[in-house]
C-alpha cells in the first residue's frame, strides 16, 4: 500500500517512495528501487532482512519491531503498529492522532487490544525519536487551518451518489473492482429505503434491474468488463424497450480473467459497441472519485429523462484507491424523471412518436396499459415489423441522443493555460497524474473527457485545432479514445502515450514524456 501525503491536494500516486516500511523481505525486493536518494527504509532489525540491494543513499532504520511490541505487552503481530508509531515519529506527526485512529480501529476488539496497540505505537514512536532524531522531518506537522476531509474511493463515491440521487433498486453480483459498491450499499438499504439484491449472475442482475425499472424504480447495476459481457444482452434490451438503468463498469486489466486486480482502460470500445444493432446509449467516464459521485447522480437523471441505459466507466485505479476530498457538495441536484406519469392517460401510447424522441413513460399499476417489448414494437408496444413503423421507432429512439447532446452534454474541461505548447488529451483516472504533472509546466494544458457518447465533437475539434502539439494518454494498447476522437473529429493524434501493464500512469511518466516533447 502506498500513501501520498502533502499539505497541498494530492491527485495521484507516484512511482517514487520516500519512506518504505518493510515487514518482510518481499517488500524490500519489490520496492527497494522506488526509494529516492535520501529516502528511508524502516524494517525489523531482528528479522535478518537482506538490504544489500538498497542504495547507499537511503537511510536505513533497523528497529526491533516485534520485540518492542512484545515488551510493551502486545504480540509480535503488532509489529505493524510499532512501525506506524516509528513512522509518525520520523515524519514529525502527532502521536495523539495515531492513538485516536487506533482507538477507532480497534473499538470492536475491546479496551485491552486498544491499549496494547497504543503502547506499541508509542514504543515505536519513542524508539524512532530516540535513535533517529537527526533524520526527523516535519512532513506530518499538523496544519493550522484545515477543513475536514473525507477519505473515499471511487466505488464508495459512486454508491453514495446513487443513494443521494434516490436509488431504489440495485442488483450487483460481486466482481473486482466494483464489489465495494455493493459492500457500501447493502448495509444502507434498510435505513435509506432501497433494495439491494444479490443475484445469481450478471444476466439476472441487469434483468432484475430492468424489471424494477419497468415497475418504476430508479435502478442500478455495477460490474467489471467480464460481468458486463454477460450484461451486454440486457444493455441492448434496455435501449430497445426504453428502460432507464444506470450501469457502473469498473475497468480492470486484460480480457478473460486477465490481471483482475490491476487497472486498465481497455473497455471503452467495448461499452460503445456492446450488443447487436444500434440503440441509444449514454456513456460517461469518471476521472476521480468526485466525478464518480457527480456522474452517478447525473446518470440517474439522464437515464430517466432519456429512458435508456447510462453507463459510467470507472478505472480500477480509482474504484479502489482512496483519496481525500472536501465533503461533496450536491446542493444543486434535483431529481428529474423527465416525461413520466403515474396518472391514467386516455389512449396511452408508451412509445408515442415525438419531436425530441422521448415518449411519456408510465408504470404498471397506474391503469395504463404498457409493454416493454424486446421485439420491435408500435407506439403501444405491440410487436410490429412493418417498414414504416420500424423506421419511425428507430429514428425516435436514436433522436434521444441528439436531444441529450443538445440539452445535457457539457464541453470537456480544459486544465492549464488556454495557450500551450503541448496539449494532453486523456480520460478516466489518468486525470490525477496529468494534473499532478502539469503543475511542473506553464506551457502544457490538458483536455479531460468525461462524455464518451454522445461525444462533444465540436468542442473537442475546436480545442484540438488550437493545439500546437497533441499527446493522447491512455491505459490501453490500441489508443481507444484516440481512435474515437479521430472517428468523431477527423483529427488523428499521432503521439500516443499508452500503458497496459496494469499499473496506473504516474505523474513522473507524464513529466518525462512532456520533457521529451519539449526537447528538455
Amino acid at each position: 500500500m502506498q500513501i501520498s501525503v502533502s499539505d497541498k491536494e494530492v491527485f495521484a500516486p507516484t512511482q517514487h517512495t520516500n519512506l518504505l516500511v518493510a515487514l518482510n523481505q518481499e517488500t524490500i525486493d519489490l520496492h527497494y528501487h522506488e526509494l529516492v536518494e535520501g529516502g528511508f527504509l524502516l524494517f525489523d532489525v531482528v528479522s535478518n532482512l537482506d538490504t544489500s540491494k538498497v542504495s547507499n543513499n537511503v537511510h536505513i532504520f533497523p528497529i526491533p519491531l516485534a520485540k518492542l511490541a512484545e515488551s510493551n505487552g502486545g504480540s509480535p503481530l503488532m509489529s505493524n503498529t510499532v512501525a506506524l508509531g516509528a513512522t509518525i515519529g520520523i515524519l514529525g506527526g502527532d502521536i495523539a492522532h495515531l492513538k485516536n485512529l487506533l482507538s477507532e480501529e480497534f473499538a470492536k476488539k475491546g479496551e485491552e487490544v486498544t491499549q496494547q496497540n497504543h503502547a506499541a505505537a508509542l514504543a515505536g514512536y519513542d524508539y524512532a525519536r530516540d535513535h533517529f532524531a537527526q533524520f526527523t522531518t516535519s512532513t506530518l506537522k499538523p496544519k493550522e487551518e484545515h477543513s475536514p476531509l473525507m477519505v473515499v474511493n471511487g466505488n464508495q463515491a459512486a454508491a453514495l451518489g446513487a443513494v443521494a440521487a434516490g436509488l431504489q433498486f440495485a442488483a450487483i453480483y460481486p466482481m473486482t473492482p466494483t464489489s465495494n459498491i455493493l459492500h457500501t450499499l447493502a448495509p444502507l438499504q434498510k435505513e435509506y429505503g432501497f433494495i439491494y439484491k444479490q443475484p445469481e449472475d450478471e444476466l439476472a442482475a441487469i434483468n432484475m434491474a430492468l424489471g424494477a425499472s419497468f415497475a418504476g424504480a430508479r435502478s442500478l447495476v455495477a460490474t467489471s468488463g467480464g460481468g458486463f459481457c454477460l450484461m451486454s444482452e440486457g444493455y441492448g434490451l434496455a435501449g430497445l424497450a426504453e428502460l432507464p438503468v444506470v450501469i457502473i463498469e469498473g475497468m480492470r486489466g486484460a480480457p478473460a480473467t486477465g490481471i483482475p486486480t490491476w487497472t486498465e482502460q481497455g473497455d471503452l470500445r467495448f461499452v460503445l459497441h456492446a450488443h447487436q444493432g444500434d440503440f441509444p446509449r449514454i456513456v460517461l467516464a469518471a476521472g476521480d472519485a468526485k466525478e464518480a459521485f457527480d456522474l452517478t447522480m447525473q446518470a440517474f437523471n439522464l437515464a430517466d429523462i432519456y429512458q435508456t441505459p447510462v453507463l459510467i466507466l470507472v478505472d480500477k485505479h480509482i474504484c479502489e484507491n482512496d483519496q481525500s476530498y472536501e465533503l461533496f457538495d450536491y446542493s444543486g441536484y434535483e431529481v428529474d424523471r423527465g416525461k413520466f406519469t403515474t396518472e391514467k392517460i386516455e389512449n396511452y401510447q408508451r412509445f408515442a412518436l415525438s419531436s425530441d424522441g422521448i415518449s411519456l413513460r408510465s408504470t404498471p399499476g397506474t391503469g395504463n396499459h404498457l409493454l416493454a417489448n424486446s421485439d420491435e414494437h408500435d407506439p403501444y408496444g405491440y410487436s410490429n415489423e412493418e417498414i414504416e413503423n420500424r423506421n419511425q421507432q428507430m429514428q425516435k429512439r436514436m433522436k434521444k441522443l441528439e436531444t441529450c447532446a443538445q440539452n445535457h452534454m457539457p464541453a470537456p474541461q480544459l486544465f492549464g493555460p488556454d495557450k500551450a505548447d503541448v496539449t494532453i488529451v486523456s480520460w478516466g483516472s489518468n486525470k490525477g497524474s496529468i494534473l499532478q504533472a502539469i503543475e511542473q509546466f506553464d506551457n502544457v494544458n490538458f483536455l479531460h473527457l468525461t462524455w464518451v457518447n454522445p461525444f462533444p465533437t465540436q468542442a473537442v475539434r475546436e480545442r484540438l485545432q488550437k493545439a500546437k502539439y497533441l499527446i493522447n494518454v491512455e491505459c490501453n494498447y490500441t489508443a481507444q479514445m484516440g481512435g474515437l476522437i479521430k472517428e468523431r473529429t477527423g483529427i488523428e493524434i499521432l503521439d500516443n502515450y499508452l500503458k497496459y501493464d496494469g499499473r496506473p500512469i504516474y505523474p513522473e511518466e507524464i513529466i518525462e514524456k512532456v520533457n521529451k516533447v519539449l526537447g528538455r
Binding site: 475536514p148 476531509l149 473525507m150 477519505v151 473515499v152 464508495q156 453514495l160 443521494a164 440521487a165 434516490g166 436509488l167 431504489q168 433498486f169 444502507l188 438499504q189 434498510k190 429505503g193 432501497f194 433494495i195 439484491k197 443475484p199 445469481e200 449472475d201 444476466l203 439476472a204 434483468n207 432484475m208 434491474a209 430492468l210 424489471g211 424494477a212 425499472s213 419497468f214 415497475a215 418504476g216 424504480a217 430508479r218 435502478s219 444482452e233 440486457g234 434490451l237 424497450a241 465533503l327 461533496f328 441536484y333 431529481v335 424523471r337 408504470t363 404498471p364 399499476g365 391503469g367 395504463n368 396499459h369 409493454l371 416493454a372 417489448n373 424486446s374 421485439d375 405491440y382 410487436s383
Partner: protein
C-alpha cells in the same frame, strides 16, 4: 370485474392452428376474468419462444424480455411493486435451457409470483430442435439420430431447489388449468405450473401421448409431503404422468421478509434526493 373484452388487444394470435398455447391463453384469460386481474393490478412477463407472443394477445402490462430471462425480470418487477399480481410465461427452452440458472435460483427465493411453463418438449419458434425437456431418443433437426440426453424433470428440479407450490396441468383441459392458475396466484410465494402441450408443427405426437398417459392426483394424495412430491415429480411414462398440485408448502414470501417494503411497495414513493451528510461523516 374484468371481462374477456377488457383483455382483448388489436393483435390476432399468430400461433399455429391447434397449438397448446391457445389452451394456456384461454385458461389464463378465464382466470383473469374470475379473479379480476386487470390493467391496474397485474403484470405479465415472458421470455422468447412461441409462448412470448402472448403479451400481444392479453391486454395487461407486460414485459417480453430476452430468451431465458423472464424470471429475473419478474422478480425485479415484484420487488419494486409487490402489490401487483406477477405472472411469468416461459417455455422449456426458455427456462430449462437458456435460463436454467434463473430457474434454480428463482425457485429457492420464494418470490410471490406465478410461473407458467409452456412445456412442449421442442424448440418450436426456431422450427424444431430438441429441447431440454425432449425425451431421450427423440429425433429432431438437431438430433437426427435421436436425442442422446436425458430430459430435465422441471418439477423435480423446482422441488429440489425449494419451490413452494409445484403443479402440472394440461393445455387441453382449460377448466382444470384455470383452477390451477388461480390456486397458484393465491399461493403466497413462488408457484410453478408445468403445462404439457404439443407443438402442432414440430412435435404433434405428444398431444395424444399426454391425453393417454396423464392422470390427476386424487384426494388421497398429500401435497405437503415433500418426499412423495419429489417421487411424483420424477414419475414419467405410460399411464404415470401426474397432473394437479404435486407440492405445496406455506412459508413467508420473499417480499414479506424485506423490511423496506413492509409498509408499502418500493415504488409507491417516488425517488427522492436523499440527505447523506451522516454518511459523509463516516468517511472523515
Amino acid at each position: 370485474m374484468t371481462t374477456l373484452a377488457d383483455l382483448t388487444t388489436p393483435c390476432k394470435p399468430n400461433w399455429c392452428p391447434g397449438c397448446g398455447d391457445f389452451g394456456i391463453w384461454t385458461a389464463f384469460r378465464n382466470a383473469a376474468t374470475k379473479e379480476n386481474w386487470n390493467v391496474g393490478n397485474t403484470v405479465i412477463t415472458a421470455g422468447i419462444g412461441c409462448h412470448g407472443h402472448i403479451i400481444n394477445f392479453v391486454k395487461l402490462p407486460a414485459f417480453e424480455g430476452l430468451h431465458g430471462r423472464a424470471l429475473p425480470v419478474a422478480t425485479g418487477v415484484k420487488m419494486a411493486n409487490h402489490k401487483l399480481n406477477v405472472f411469468v410465461f416461459t417455455g422449456d427452452g426458455d427456462s430449462l435451457g437458456e435460463g436454467g440458472n434463473h430457474w434454480v435460483h428463482t425457485c429457492r427465493r420464494n418470490h410471490d409470483i406465478t410461473i407458467i411453463l409452456h412445456d412442449n418438449a421442442i424448440y418450436g419458434l426456431t422450427t424444431g430442435q430438441t429441447s431440454p425437456a425432449s425425451q431421450k431418443g427423440f429425433k429432431s433437426k438437431s438430433t437426427p439420430e435421436g436425442n442422446p440426453d436425458e430430459p430435465i424433470r422441471p418439477l423435480a428440479l423446482a422441488i429440489a431447489a425449494g419451490a413452494t407450490f409445484v403443479a402440472r396441468g394440461s393445455a387441453y383441459e382449460h377448466e382444470r388449468l384455470t383452477e390451477l392458475i388461480i390456486a397458484a396466484n393465491n399461493h403466497k410465494g413462488i408457484a410453478i405450473i408445468d403445462v404439457l402441450q404439443a407443438c402442432m408443427s414440430f412435435n404433434p405426437e405428444v398431444a395424444d401421448y399426454y391425453k393417454a398417459n396423464t392422470y390427476y392426483l386424487g384426494d388421497d394424495y398429500n401435497p405437503k409431503d415433500k418426499n412423495a412430491a419429489f417421487t411424483k415429480a420424477l414419475e414419467w411414462g405410460e399411464k404415470s404422468i401426474p397432473l394437479g398440485i404435486l407440492y405445496k408448502e406455506e412459508k413467508p414470501s420473499y417480499e414479506m421478509e424485506i423490511p423496506q417494503i413492509a409498509q408499502k411497495p418500493l415504488v409507491s414513493t417516488p425517488p427522492l434526493k436523499r440527505n447523506i451528510q451522516t454518511l459523509f461523516k463516516q468517511y472523515l
